[in-house]
Structures are given as structure tokens and as C-alpha cells.
Point group: none
Chain length 71, copies 3
Amino acid sequence: MGIAIGAGIAVLTGLGAGVGIGLATAKSSEAIARQPEAAGQISKNLILGCALAEATAIYGFLIAILLIFMS
Amino acid sequence: MGIAIGAGIAVLTGLGAGVGIGLATAKSSEAIARQPEAAGQISKNLILGCALAEATAIYGFLIAILLIFMS
Amino acid sequence: MGIAIGAGIAVLTGLGAGVGIGLATAKSSEAIARQPEAAGQISKNLILGCALAEATAIYGFLIAILLIFMS
């Protein structure tokens, strides 16, 4: 029982990354609209930020997987 | 039972980093649009901030891993 | 049982640092775009602020480590 609750709480970590990546994408789109010739640099920036934010969601996912399969 | 819940709560720390990295990326994209010639300095700034924010997520991940494997 | 939950709650402190460092980085990028020639000073400022915010996450991490290894 506790394992299921723990795994549920663990994967909830993705909530922050979901909001963060959304915000980053939103502002990047706005930025490309403002300076279309800087689109390459802005995309590179977005990929860097999103990869790091995504990693936080993957930590929660990994812990949930570990909790389920280690018990 | 308590260990699974504890590990879940621990890894939840990544939530803050997910939102924080997203915010940092959002404003950095906006900044590159404003001053494309400062893109290098802005990227350096973003990498520094994101590495420190990511570290807070890694602390939670480490504690979750310790809780799972130390018991 | 209580130790694992306590350690999880302790390391959750990093949540604030994750958001805070993200906000600091966001506004620093904006500031560099506004005054690219002040980038060195802005970076120095960011490093100082982030180090102090990071310390709050380390407090939570240390308490979690102590809880796990002292029991």
C-alpha cells in the first residue's frame, strides 16, 4: 500500500517540469516572433533549458519505477 | 511502507527545479530576442543558473535513492 | 518508518531554492540583454545570490543524510 502511494508521489515531480517547459516554450515562441533572425539561437536555448527541466521529471519517474520493481 | 512514501516525498524536490529552470529559460529566450549579439553571455548565465537549480533536484533524487537502497 | 518520511520532508527544502535560483537566473538574463557591457557584474551578482540560495537546499540535504545515517 505504502509503495503505491510513494510511487504516486514520486512521479508527481513531473508537475513542475510540465509547467516549467510550458513557460519556456511560450516565451521562446514570443521571442522568435520578435526576432525571427535569432530563431536558431533561441531554439538552442530552449533545447538546453528543456533538457534540464525534463531531467527533473525523469528523476521522479525513475524513483517510481524503482519503488514498484524493488518491492 | 514509510520508506516508499519518504522516497516519493524526497524526489518531489525536483518540482521546484522544474519550474525554476523553465522560468530561467523563458526569460533567457526573451533576452536573446532583445540582444541577439549577447546570446553567448546569456547562454553562459543560463547554464550557470540551471546547473545550480538542477543540483537541488539531484539532492532529492540522491536521498530517494539512499532511502530505497539503504533499507 | 518515520525516519524515511522525515528525511523526505527535510530534503523538500530544496524546492524553494530551485524556484528562487530560477527566478534569479531569469532576471539576470534579462538584465544582461539590457546592459550587455555589465554582464561581468551581473554574473558576479548571480553567483553570490545562487550560492546563498543553494545553501538552503544543502541544509535540507544534510538533515536528510543525518536522519538516514544516524539511525
